[in-house]
Structure formats: C-alpha cells, structure tokens
C-alpha cells in the first residue's frame, strides 16, 4: 500500500486514519480528540466564570451549575489532560528512542476508541432528562450513589470515567513496553532525551495508579445499579476516597511530567545548549514520580481518618525534587544564546506560572494550613496554576516545538507571540483573585455567594481574566488552522534540534527512520554538530 517515495505521505482517509495502528496516527487522533475536549471544557469554564462574576444567580441554575463544574473538571482530567499527555508520549517517544513502531499498537488504537466512547458517554448526559453527571469530578460516595445523585446522566458519567481510565492504561502500557523493549540498539536508558524520561515516569504512574480508579468507579457503578451497597457503613466513604485519590493525585503529575519534559526540550533547543544537569534531572524525575505516588492522603487531611503527618512529610518533600527541575531549566539558559520563539516563551511562562502553583502547594501540604483553605478558592487557584500555568503552558510549548515535525509546517510566530502575551495576563487575572477569595473563606463548587461578603469585585476580575484566556485560545485556533493549510514548510529540522525525531523527515515516514544516526548521549544531534566543530 505505501509507496517508497518519502517526502509527501499519501493523504490518509478518515476510516484509514481511525483504524491506523501507526503510533503517530494514534497519537495525533488522541491529541486532536483531547484538544476538542479542551475547548469544550474551556467553554464550560467560561460559563461558570460568567455566572460567578456577580453575587446572585444570573446565567444558570444551581442545578445546571453543578453539572458545569462536574463536567468541566471531568473533561479536563479524563478527556483532555490525561489523553493529551498520552498522545505526546505515543507520538514522540518512539521517535526519540529510535523505534520504528510501538509494542502492542492495537492496544494503543483501542485506547483511542475507548476515549472516544468516554467522551460521548460523558457529554450525552446533557441531552438526558436530569442532565449530565453532577457529583463533582471526584464523585465522592455517598453523594455519587443512586440515592445521592440518581439519574442516567450520572450512570453514564461513571461509565465514561471507567472507559477513560482504561484508555489511559492501555496507551501508557504501550509506551512503557516500547521504552523498555524497543529502544534503538545504542539507545541505553541513560541516553534517552529528557522528554522520553518524563514520559516514562508518567506512564509508570498511569499503570500503577489508574487501576485504582477503575476499581473505585466499577464498585461505584455496581453500587448505583444493583442492590449491593458497596460503600455503605462507617468506612465505605473513606475507602472510596482512598481509592479515588490514589489515582487522583498521581494523575496531576501524570499530566504534568510530559509537559515538563516538553519544556525542557524547548528550552534546550532554543538555548542551543544540551540540557543542563541531565543525571540530576533523571534521578529527580524518578524520585519525584515515586513521591507523588505517596501523597494522595493530603486530599483527606480534613477527614480525621488518616495519618496526616506522613502525607504532610511526603508532600512537602516534593519541593526538593521540583526545585531540581528549576535549577536544570535555568542552568540550561545560563550562558546560552536563547532564541525567543513561541515555544521558548511558553516554556518560560510554564516556569514562571507553575511556580505559583508549586509554592502554594507547599502551603496546602501543611495540614494546619489546609484545615482552613481546603475546599476553598485558595485550592482552586493553587491547582489551576499547576494545571493551567503548568500543564497547559507546557503543552503549548510542546505544540509550538513539535508542530513542524508532526505537520511539516511551521506555526505562525507572530500569532504565537500574541497568543502568549494574551494568555499570561489572562492566567494571572483569572487565578490570582482566587487566592484572596479562598483565604477569605469562599468555598468551592458554589453557584452563588452573598452580596455582603465583598467578593463581587475580585470575582468580576477573575471572570474578565477568563475571557482574556478564551481570546488567547481563539488566536491559537486561528494560528493552527491557518498554519495547517498554508504555514511555511518546515523542513526536517527547523530548530537545530537535539534528539532523534529531528533526524527524520517532517512528518516522519511510517517506519519513522530510513537511517538512524549514532546515539552516544541524550542529545545525539548535538554530538554530530560538536564532531563537525572539532573537525
């Protein structure tokens, strides 16, 4: 079927694309699906912010608002962030480690289809009587059981989460097995680029933590649809929270690490220096990922049911490994000649904004501080700086960096910079007021607040900020569509890249490489350059 001529791959038809087991196609499909859900989840967020701009109810009812934040959170985690992290890993890891294809390609494809099913299930709730899921993205039992939240919408939500979790496990298993078994012969683990390392720790966490979510949700579904009362009794709700957060905390790192890796690649490439402190970075990623498996209890500080001290210790210890990441990223920029492309700007935005989330994370890691700010807007501000300031900024750094490799065309730099310079003030304006509001006692998941609290002004600011973010994302959408059609042709290696994916064509051929350059370090293309300088 495929021809031997390289540069112009045949235009793939939809059915062929939807059944393709090429890791690049599965990665693209998963990524595109995730981005569509990102847009939908964002739309829900804008609706929520519009409702919250002022005290009182103006736009939606209490009932509808509960659906909005439930589906917003669920979309962003289950249908956007986790899938896009897997999409980046599926597309890029085989290229970076010099593999011609992944192990278990059918499972990866199956993962994409299950994700599609999850999305349809979750959103079809809006069309049903009683509406979509409305027990929060965490769906604590007993609120989420058939008495607490009856209705088909909530049933479908539960099934959707099971499907999304299975999808993540399948795709992560493919990436993990590929890294372990399909590296190019000279690609030892310690020669893997930083992004591949970050993807590795991410998929390790997926296969360890997501099964707990599948278990929690399956039991919940049985509880909802049969007469069995799985989570009843004094311990039931606690067991549910343990299972959920055993997934629910690792997932925030699952969706963080790959984009930390993307940022590392963007900084190294744009600085025209190989990444700084590689052994420290690798060690810190492994320890970071292990620690973040053991911090789930900090979501349960106010339950009086767990050993708060242990989880306070593990959570605070994360600042050490996270600090190494900052040192290495900044070390890479030190004495460099930095090209300020959009990918670099988003990488810098990632470092600057994630920092706010990271530092406030140290606050909420301390139980006595968490007793006050838990379930308030302080926490909402905190995790939006990790997930939006971190994950989303890192994702855009990655998209601007790898778009030419994937499509063969460059994204427009001027629109990219406009996108960035709108998104940064938008992010500050939206989420900074939340710290003040939360500290003042504004609780989460409320559609309404009393006028005499004095919260109107800050909420209005936050809402304006969310519109600015929406505008910046529209700029990106325009850039994306324009560049796909008529962007400048990129060539194989437009950025003077460091890792193997830049040694093949853009987009890469089905078997990825016609010829692999020698691999002697984590930046094989830099090795070649240095050889040329020496000779």
């Amino acid at each position: 079927m495929s021809t031997a001529v390289r540069p112009a791959p045949p235009r793939t038809r939809l059915v062929a694309l939807l059944t393709s087991t090429d890791h690049k196609h599965v990665g693209l499909l998963t990524g595109a699906t995730a981005l569509i859900f990102f847009a939908l989840g964002g739309l829900l967020a804008v609706l929520m912010r519009t409702e919250l701009a002022q005290s009182g109810l103006q736009v939606v009812s209490d009932e509808a608002y509960n659906q909005l934040f439930t589906i917003h959170g669920s979309t962003m985690f289950y249908l956007f962030a986790s899938p896009i992290a897997m999409a980046f890993a599926l597309y890029l890891v085989p290229l970076q480690i010099g593999a011609s294809q992944i192990i278990w390609p059918r499972l990866a494809l199956l993962g994409f289809w299950l994700l599609l099913g999850a999305g349809v299930f979750m959103y079809s709730g809006f069309l049903l009587q009683g509406g979509a899921g409305k027990a929060g993205w965490f769906a604590f039992d007993p609120l989420s059981d058939d008495v607490g939240t009856p209705g088909t919408g909530q049933d479908l939500w539960t099934l959707a989460v099971i499907l999304a979790a299975l999808s993540g496990i399948l795709q992560a298993a493919c990436v993990l097995a590929t890294i372990v078994r399909r590296r190019a012969p000279t690609m030892t683990m310690l020669r893997m680029p930083v992004f591949s390392w970050s993807a590795l720790v991410s998929v390790l966490m997926v296969v360890t933590s997501y099964p707990a979510l599948v278990l929690a949700m399956t039991l919940l579904y049985v509880d909802r649809t049969t007469s069995a009362a799985v989570y009843d009794g004094a311990m039931g709700p606690i067991v549910y929270q343990h299972l959920f957060w055993f997934f629910g905390h690792p997932v925030v790192y699952v969706v963080f690490f790959p984009f930390l890796g993307a940022v590392a690649e963007a900084i190294a490439t744009n600085s025209r220096k190989r990444f700084f402190g590689y052994p420290f970075m690798v060690a810190s990623l492994l320890i970071f990922a292990a620690l973040s498996m053991a911090v789930w209890g900090h979501h349960m500080f106010t339950t009086s049911a767990i050993e708060n001290r242990y989880f306070a210790l593990t959570t605070t210890a994360i600042l050490v490994v996270a600090g190494i990441e900052y040192f290495d990223c900044m070390g890479t920029m030190w004495r460099a000649k930095i090209r300020m492309r959009s990918s670099m700007l988003f990488a810098l935005g990632f470092l600057a904004l994630f920092l706010i989330g990271g530092l406030t994370g140290i606050f909420v890691a301390s139980p006595p501080l968490d007793y006050h700010v838990h379930d308030t807007y302080f926490v909402v501000g905190h995790f939006h700086y990790t997930l939006f300031g971190g994950t989303v900024f890192g994702m855009f750094a990655g998209i601007y960096h790898w778009f030419p490799k994937v499509t063969g065309r460059l994204l427009d730099e001027r629109l990219g910079k406009l996108h960035f310079w709108l998104m940064v003030p938008g992010t500050l304006l939206t989420f900074i007021p939340m710290f003040v509001l939360g500290h003042d006692g504004m609780t989460r998941r409320i559609s309404n607040y009393a006028a005499d609290r004095g919260w109107d002004g800050l909420n209005t600011l936050s809402t304006i900020g969310s519109y600015v973010i929406a505008a910046s994302l529209l700029v990106f959408l325009v850039n994306l569509l324009r560049s796909l059609r008529s962007g400048t042709v990129a060539g194989d290696d437009p950025w003077d890249g460091h890792s193997l994916e830049w040694a093949t064509s853009s987009p890469p051929p089905q078997h990825n490489f016609d010829e692999l350059p020698p691999v002697r370090s984590y930046a094989p293309l830099m090795d070649l350059r240095e050889e040329r300088w020496r000779s």
Binding site: P237, G323, T332, M340, L369
Partner: protein, 248 residues
C-alpha cells in the same frame, strides 16, 4: 482568656512562617528567569553556538541540600503546630460513640460538647446534656451559640459528606454518615458572625446555601442564654435572620 485550642492563632503563626519563604523564592526565581532571558538572549544575526556547559554537580548538590533544609524546617514547624492542635483526634464510628475520647491536652474548661448533625442542606446543633437543639428552618439558617473558651464538637452526617467550616477560626472538619469526627475549637472573643459558618464539602443542589451563624457569648451571658433557652422553641432567643442575613 487562654484557650487550649486557638486554631486561628496557630494558622496565622504558621502562615507567617510560610509566606515570606514563598514570596522570597518566587522573587528570586522570577528575577532569575528575567535576568537569564534578557542577558543570554541571542543577539540579532548571531548564528554562533554558545559555550556548551551542561553541568555543575557540586553547585547542584549544594542547592539540593539547601532545599532539603527548607523542607525540613517547614515540616518541623508543621508537625509542632499539629501537636498543639487537639483537633487531630481519631474518628470513631457512630455506633460506639458515647463520649468523645478524653483528650489529655484539653483543659477542663471545655465543659460543653456540641453534637453537629449535618443533612442536606442544613445544620443541627445539639448541646449534650443541656437539652438544647438549634435547627435551621426552611428559610432560615441555624445559629451556633457558644461561650467564650474551648468547646468540643462531634460532627456527623445523616446523608452525604459535609464539612463544618468556620472561616474566621481557620478550621474545618468533614462530617461523614455513620461516623463521628471530634474536634475542639476555642472561641476568643464574644460577637455575632453572620452566616460565617458554612458547608465546605460539595453536597448537592443547595450546597452553596448550607450556612450557619456563629454567636459567641461571654460565659455569664451564655449561662443566661442556656437557662432562657431550655424548654423553648428552637428558633427563639437567637438573632432571627433569614437566609440573606436580613433581620426578620
């Protein structure tokens, strides 16, 4: 007066340790990023490659040690604070709940115990041994009336998970069905806090409105209130406010 438990004070003290460190770190890193981005920016037309320095293991190890020290300091003070918070008692299941566990660090002043019962979407406060019950009505929210000093609480829920939150005391605890969560709170000054208490755990449709007033009385005034309150209808003798805080 001295309180055995002063959650607000403990919170503020710990917060005052954390925030200068956080602000300091943030200033250093933001400034560092700015300096790096400006100082090592590629000049127009410069196509040369920079010097390839890519490790400084000693500096990095020293930096890691510094971070570890910061983490250790924060954990130490967090643990110290937790040690003085008598709220950190293990929960017991409701079936076995007679009196809450005796807490050695509690002063005898903590004479009264309030059983907090949460149910969608209102609160009920039962004063143990006093025969008093404060309940919210259809349009009104209840008032938690307490004397100045330490008060014991034992919270539970009749349906889903709720969370008993008094923002000005910087404290909340979850209330579970079939479980009791015990904690002690110290009330420093008398005063009326309108709709200050709220439910912090999402509990469904009217979660946003599940609030309560907090009314702190001097000890004598509280005794008078108890005497007058005993045998009366629940809604009387508390400031009558509707849900929006207006006096009826």
């Amino acid at each position: 007066m001295s309180l055995a438990v002063d959650t607000a004070r403990q919170y503020e003290d710990l917060f005052d340790l954390y925030w200068p460190i956080a602000v300091g770190v943030m200033a250093v890193i933001w400034l560092g990023l700015l300096v790096l981005a400006v100082r090592y920016r590629r000049r127009e037309g410069d196509e040369t490659w920079p010097e390839q320095t890519h490790e400084r293991p000693r500096a990095e190890a020293a930096y890691v040690a510094l971070l570890a020290i910061i983490a250790a300091v924060l954990v130490f003070f967090t643990f110290t604070t937790m040690g003085s918070l008598t709220a950190d008692l293990p929960a017991e299941s409701a079936s076995g709940a007679g009196q809450p566990d005796a807490d050695p660090s509690e002063t005898p002043a903590a004479a009264i115990t309030v059983d907090v019962v949460a149910a969608r979407w209102n609160w009920r406060f039962r004063y143990r041994g006093l025969g008093i019950e404060q309940v919210g009505g259809g349009r009104s929210i209840p008032t938690l009336v307490v004397p100045v000093g330490d008060v014991r609480f034992s919270a539970t829920s009749l349906d889903v998970i709720h969370s008993f939150f008094i923002p000005y005391l910087r404290f909340k605890r979850d209330a579970f069905p079939e479980r009791r969560t015990n904690f002690t709170l110290g009330f420093r000054k008398p005063g009326f806090h309108e709709a200050e208490g709220r439910c912090a755990e999402f509990c469904g449709l009217r979660h946003a409105y599940m609030n309560f007033h907090v009314w702190v009385l001097e000890r004598d005034a509280f005794r008078r209130w108890v005497r007058a309150r005993q045998g009366r209808a629940p809604q009387e003798l508390t400031p009558a406010l509707d849900r929006d805080g207006r006096r009826r």
